[in-house]
């Protein structure tokens, strides 16, 4: 069933690549403008050492930024759930802060936190942590009153109600947030690398752009996409393990507001 559901998108992708190849060949489109997919694949292979070298810093920044968002997002969500001051005072601010386009803040981050890893990490965090906060807070507070009453009836403490009821109940929604967050972390890191970096896939894309090396640029984009897909796959796989009690649906879950 699962193997089969992958068959169709793969077939469509393949067909699109073949069509692309054919159109570029037939119309003699310049490589600078739009290289053939086979050429991009060739560059992906022949320049693999270079691409991998730049992929590593991007990869660990994404993972680090994502983990930071996860921990930070869950902590903020717990505070939102249990502290009225945080809920009334900070929640509206957190929501409003999401209106500011984070991409626009990237140069400012470089001014504040320098050209190093820190500014990239912080930008990834800033972009990726919001869905975690929203989903976790929704999950923690959407527990049916009956469950809480039942637990209190058996003398459950606030802490027990949190660990044994609210948190597991929130798990499916937290994973929904994580799946959005991991893709946003990719954006955060790459945008920061556009602005200021000496390495990373974002840097490689800008550099290839400056050299008018479109095939390398597209190879870098392809590598980045594959990495993003793999990271998403890891989160989705973890979800299957952790949220084993959920009856699966075809579409991905996520109560992202």
């Amino acid at each position: 069933m699962r193997g089969r559901s992958l068959l169709w998108p793969l077939a469509v992708t393949l067909a699109a690549l073949v069509a692309w190849e054919a159109v570029v060949a037939a119309l003699r489109v310049k490589t600078l403008l739009l290289p053939r997919p086979s050429l991009v694949a060739g560059v992906l292979w022949s320049r693999a050492p270079l691409i991998l070298e730049h992929m590593w810093p991007t990869f660990y920044q994404i993972v680090l930024g994502f983990l930071l968002s996860l921990v930070g997002g869950v902590v903020v969500a717990v505070l939102l759930t249990y502290s009225e001051i945080v809920r009334k005072g900070f929640y509206p601010l957190i929501v409003v802060s999401q209106i500011v386009p984070k991409v626009a803040v990237a140069p400012l981050f470089v001014v504040w936190f320098g050209l190093g890893d820190l500014s990239r990490l912080l930008l990834a965090f800033l972009i990726a942590f919001f869905p975690i906060v929203i989903n976790t807070a929704t999950g923690l507070t959407s527990v049916d009153d009956d469950f809480v009453r039942m637990a209190r009836g058996y003398m459950g403490t606030r802490r027990q109600i949190f660990t044994k009821i609210r948190l597991p109940h929130a798990m499916p929604l937290i994973f929904g947030g994580m799946k959005i967050s991991i893709t946003l972390a990719v954006i955060g890191v790459v945008v920061a690398e556009f602005v200021a970096a000496q390495r990373g896939i974002g840097y490689l894309i800008v550099m290839a752009n400056g050299l008018l090396d479109t095939p390398l640029m597209m190879a870098a984009i392809a590598a980045l996409s594959l990495m993003g897909l793999a990271l998403y796959g890891v989160v989705a796989g973890l979800e299957r393990l952790v949220v084993y009690w959920q009856v699966r649906t075809e579409t991905p879950r996520g109560g992202f507001a």
Partner: protein, 252 residues
């Protein structure tokens, strides 16, 4: 013998000024099966939640085992209208939840949990998740959970109302069987007259909001109760009696 539950002049008025219960006054003897019978929304569940220590009465006092109720107690088991099983826990782990909450040793109670499940005929499902069980089976598991820590008092809030009629009769019989073995005091809330007569030693009828206890009768049918009794004249005499008292209470 001292009473298991004493409800003394208890009333409940909600914050908005809605008076749910005007005055309730009754006692439950140890080992007695008492039903609170009344129409929907008459405040009988509210009364039960106050006995459970989950709601505070506005007036009067409630004593369980000679101690004033000030919050949930460890020697009380509660069965709610819906099973409220945690979907991520297996049946056995759901039954053991009170043991964990009360910080008792799990190993000391795992055996008892299994015995209860086997008595409720759901032991084959001990390792299954709740969504694999039928409604009746889930409620049996909820009853096992309410009994696992061996409480003296079992509070049941319309536990069978979500089940179909046939399952409901079956569950009643099984509840009586378990009650007979474990000898608990039971306070059972229901809006089904037949269910109240079939299960109880004594039935209290609650009038609609603001509720008072309007009528009370001992049910002197022999035990163990059997399904056939539901056709007996004596059974139907009790049903008639209670129905008249409810109709008298609801008449404007």
């Amino acid at each position: 013998m001292r009473d298991s539950v004493v409800v003394d002049g208890v009333g409940k008025t909600y914050a908005g000024g809605v008076e749910a219960i005007r005055e309730a006054r009754f006692r439950v003897a140890p080992g007695e099966f008492l039903s609170l019978l009344g129409p929907s929304g008459c405040g009988k569940s509210t009364l039960l939640m106050m006995i459970a220590g989950l709601l505070a009465p506005s007036r009067g006092s409630i004593r369980v085992d000679d101690a004033e109720v000030q919050g949930p107690r460890r020697d009380v088991g509660i069965v709610f209208q819906s099973p409220v099983l945690l979907p991520w826990r297996t049946v056995l782990d759901n039954v053991l939840l009170p043991v964990e909450m009360l910080r008792l040793r799990r190993t000391d109670y795992a055996r008892r949990a299994r015995d209860l499940l086997s008595m409720a005929k759901v032991d084959d499902f001990a390792a299954k998740l709740p969504h694999e069980l039928s409604g009746g089976m889930k409620q049996r598991v909820a009853i096992c959970r309410a009994l696992v820590h061996d409480p003296a008092l079992l509070l049941m809030d319309e536990p069978f109302s979500a089940l179909d009629a046939m399952t409901r009769d079956q569950m009643g019989l099984e509840l009586l069987r378990i009650w007979d073995v474990h000898k608990k005091t039971v306070v059972f809330v229901t809006h089904s007259i037949r269910e109240a007569v079939f299960l109880s030693d004594r039935v209290l009828v609650m009038s609609p909001r603001p509720a008072t206890i309007g009528f009370e009768t001992d049910v002197k049918l022999p035990r163990p109760r059997t399904m056939d009794m539901q056709e007996a004249d004596e059974f139907n005499r009790y049903v008639g009696l209670l129905r008249h008292s409810i109709e008298a209470g609801t008449r404007p």
